[in-house]
Symmetry: C2
Subunit: 176 residues, 2 copies
């Protein structure tokens, strides 16, 4: 396995806010209200979750690894804290919050001047135990991609019936 390139991971991280804006800004209410059923999220809820984790998760955990190592387990994540912390915000406002927090966190990541040895340093995850800073940075990027894929799937499923027999050829409609 080759070492993680933080510069490469950054390329994903810095593109997500603009990608979400291009995909979602200005969509009409029926698109923005779409979800996958009870206890699933609409596109604005997913953006709110991403914005919230920028405040509580990634850089916080990176700092714990660098400053405290495995001695202090990561604080748990509240995946639905956005429901109260970002209640009442429009999609536009949520995109702006996410964009600003992400930019700030990428500046913080830059300021850490991580070298290959830093990336091998470890912290303690409540479920997984020892994890490396490299794994945390890679997960930050793939977490973006997971939720981008989720948004795309939520939008597509609105037309699950509308595509008729073509559904067979449309992979995005076959994934849970």
């Amino acid at each position: 396995m080759t070492a993680l390139s933080v510069a490469e991971a950054r390329q994903i991280l810095e593109r997500t806010p603009a990608t979400l804006r291009a995909l979602l800004a200005g969509l009409s209410p029926p698109w923005l209200a779409a979800n996958e059923g009870p206890d699933t999220w609409s596109p604005p809820e997913i953006v709110a979750h991403l914005a919230d984790l920028e405040e509580t998760d990634w850089v916080t955990r990176a700092r714990i690894i660098l400053e405290e190592g495995e001695g202090r387990p990561f604080p748990p994540i509240d995946r639905v804290a956005f429901r109260t912390k970002l209640a009442g915000k429009t999609l536009e406002q949520l995109l702006t919050v996410f964009t600003e927090r992400r930019a700030g966190n990428l500046r913080a990541l830059e300021a850490m001047k991580l070298d290959p040895a830093d990336l091998l340093r470890t912290g303690t995850h409540a479920t997984f135990g020892s994890v490396t800073l490299a794994q945390l940075v890679a997960t930050w990027a793939v977490h973006d991609l997971t939720h981008l894929a989720q948004i795309v799937r939520v939008l597509a499923k609105r037309y699950d019936a509308a595509v008729g027999p073509w559904k067979e050829f449309l992979g995005v409609l076959k994934r849970g």
Copy 2:
């Protein structure tokens, strides 16, 4: 089932070029060369496929439905025609071709001034038989979303190993 709103489908169709540009433009070669293994596509190949179908598929089929109905089956699609027709083009060039063709096709769609009765008109698909114009328009939009999801998945899988134990929480890495 409610009738398809062409205006709503357009909202997806008109966002895809800018979404792909925000996600992909400027990514380094390792990201752009990523694929899911033999006989799978990289992000630029997927953009080329989308650009090619703008030339050959959607509006062509809509016109066949409106002008000839079920009498003339749709011409078959060559899913890999882009390999020769768009050979040698950079990602930037492919994004530009796709953007321009999509804009032209949305103008063509607008000019058709489709009403609800038009959307119920039918054509003949070689595999499925009778399909409606509404199903074709919905499929055009979901085809975009399927390939956007594919690109996101291809990028994410580059970090399949790098995320370590977090893979369990990252749905995009679990999909084929």
